[in-house]
């Protein structure tokens, strides 16, 4: 029993400042700095005037001259979504987070805990604390179809024996919610296959011949087959942030990043674990935020290598920033520091020193070993020139 929770226009609601802001206004998320100028999520009013998500900005404005563009706020989206995910995990759900506003969990093990299916759905609604569309079905894909079909505040249930019949009448557009099958949706529609039932009527060989792997997967989904959920692990979320001074570019950004990386690595909650993925985000001086997820090739705890990987992404900042934040998305195994090929006397001495600092920190707290870092030597405000950063080798 897979439960699909769908919060429509989640990113737009977060960027606009609440669901009330969307009522009666033709809004769309402004194109991001990089890539072609395409609008993001659009409000119902804009949609009624022919504007679609992913449409070129020029075409969107031509169709709806009153269209108002809202700067994207990926940091707010991530924070709100994390809050919702934590609330759902609070009722015992092990979540697969497909994207902001769309999550799945297996409700089979929770039915007993919440006095039946209705109790579970009630607990889900309470945890969400906002209107949502909920679909319940034996597979992930079918539950998504049910959630998309139902109205807000309603639940659509599909039983095991009705899955194929139910999916057969669903539009092929649902396949666009899955990254592996999104590429073939336009081709299917051009071929006149508007419903999933049409896809099932074709043989597996015909589908594989024309559409390859995505086609085979799409046919399997339409038949009610699906892969198991990829649930996320519930972990501590470590974040470090810092306000930036007046000259928020170049050296200051690099130095601030250095301090944040050192602070993150010095947090006792890390418990010696390496870092596998980090989110670098910034609050922009004009309006809106910027967010970049960085997945390391291998789990790291070497501050220099982490800084090197992050500083390249920092150059993608679209505008001056007023604050910078680092958040650990995923930890790697403990230890895992890459040793040098030739372990000389200096390396051994540094290892002993590192060990000593570790012991001092254990006894006297994280502020026992600090170093002074020059952040912005040209600042007119003296307290912004230097900062204390955790001591790292």
């Amino acid at each position: 029993m897979i439960v699909c929770v769908y919060l429509p226009r989640f990113e737009l609601v977060a960027a606009a400042g609440g669901p009330e802001a969307l009522t009666g206004w033709a809004l769309a998320i402004a194109p991001s700095g990089s890539g072609p100028a395409r609008v993001g999520e659009v409000s119902g009013t804009a949609q009624a005037q022919g504007v679609q998500q992913g449409m070129m900005l020029g075409e969107a404005l031509a169709r709806c001259p009153a269209l108002e563009l809202v700067p994207g706020d990926p940091v707010q989206v991530a924070q709100s979504w994390e809050q919702i995910a934590r609330a759902l995990e609070g009722i015992g759900a092990q979540l697969e987070l497909a994207r902001p506003g769309l999550a799945y969990f297996d409700g089979a093990g929770l039915v007993g805990l919440h006095n039946g299916e209705d109790g579970l759905l009630l607990a889900t609604r309470k945890a969400l604390a906002r209107p949502a569309r909920i679909g319940v079905a034996p597979s992930r894909f079918c539950s998504l179809a049910a959630a998309l079909e139902t109205r807000t505040r309603r639940v659509r249930r599909v039983s095991e024996r009705d899955v194929r019949r139910y999916l057969a009448v669903q539009p092929v557009g649902i396949l666009s919610y899955r990254s592996q099958t999104a590429t073939i949706v336009a081709s299917l529609q051009q071929l006149g296959l508007g419903k999933l039932g049409g896809l099932v009527k074709l043989t597996a060989a015909e589908i594989a011949d024309r559409f390859g792997e995505p086609g085979t997967l799409a046919r399997g989904l339409a038949l009610g087959h699906d892969t198991p959920l990829r649930v996320r692990r519930v972990e501590d979320r470590l974040t470090e942030s810092m306000q930036l001074g007046e000259a928020n570019s170049g050296l200051l950004l690099e130095r601030t990043l250095e301090v944040l990386v050192d602070r993150l690595l010095a947090r006792p909650q890390r418990r010696g674990r390496t870092l596998r993925a980090i989110t670098l985000s910034a609050r922009l001086a004009e309006r809106g935020t910027w967010r970049e997820e960085v997945v390391f090739r291998q789990a790291l705890s070497d501050p220099r290598r982490i800084r090197l990987a992050l500083s390249q992404r920092l150059q993608l900042l679209p505008a001056p920033a007023t604050a910078l934040q680092l958040a650990v998305d995923e930890f790697g195994p403990a230890g895992g520091d890459q040793g040098g090929l030739l372990d000389g006397e200096r390396t051994a001495r540094l290892a002993r020193l590192q060990d000593a600092v570790g012991q001092v920190r254990t006894l006297a707290g994280p502020h026992a070993a600090l170093r002074v870092l020059v952040v912005d030597p040209r600042s007119r405000v003296p307290e912004r020139k230097v900062l204390y950063a955790p001591w790292q080798q």
Binding site: A364, G365, H367, V372, E383
Partner: protein, 85 residues
């Protein structure tokens, strides 16, 4: 063995409140020590576009004891602070 946790230290150049006697806005004594000479004074106005603006009048002074001190008058809270420039 008893251990004592070290508290988070203030920023290296954080302003510290100081008692300053002034005449017409010009410092004449710092922490009870008379000022011998004013070497320089300058004004810093910054972040006026934010909710935490900065409006300070800095004074670099030589006291009668021969010490070089930097103090500033925070015009927003009307208080004096010493600071390592």
């Amino acid at each position: 063995m008893r251990s004592r946790t070290i508290a988070k230290p203030a920023a290296p150049k954080a302003p510290k409140p100081v008692r300053v006697q002034a005449e017409h806005g010009r410092p004449i004594a710092v922490a009870g020590v008379r000022v011998e000479e004013v070497r320089e004074d300058w004004i810093v106005q910054d972040k006026w576009w934010t909710e935490q603006p900065i409006r300070r009048h800095y004074w670099e002074l030589i006291t009668v004891e021969g010490r070089n001190v930097v103090v500033f008058h925070d015009k927003l809270v009307d208080r004096w602070f010493s600071q390592t420039a």
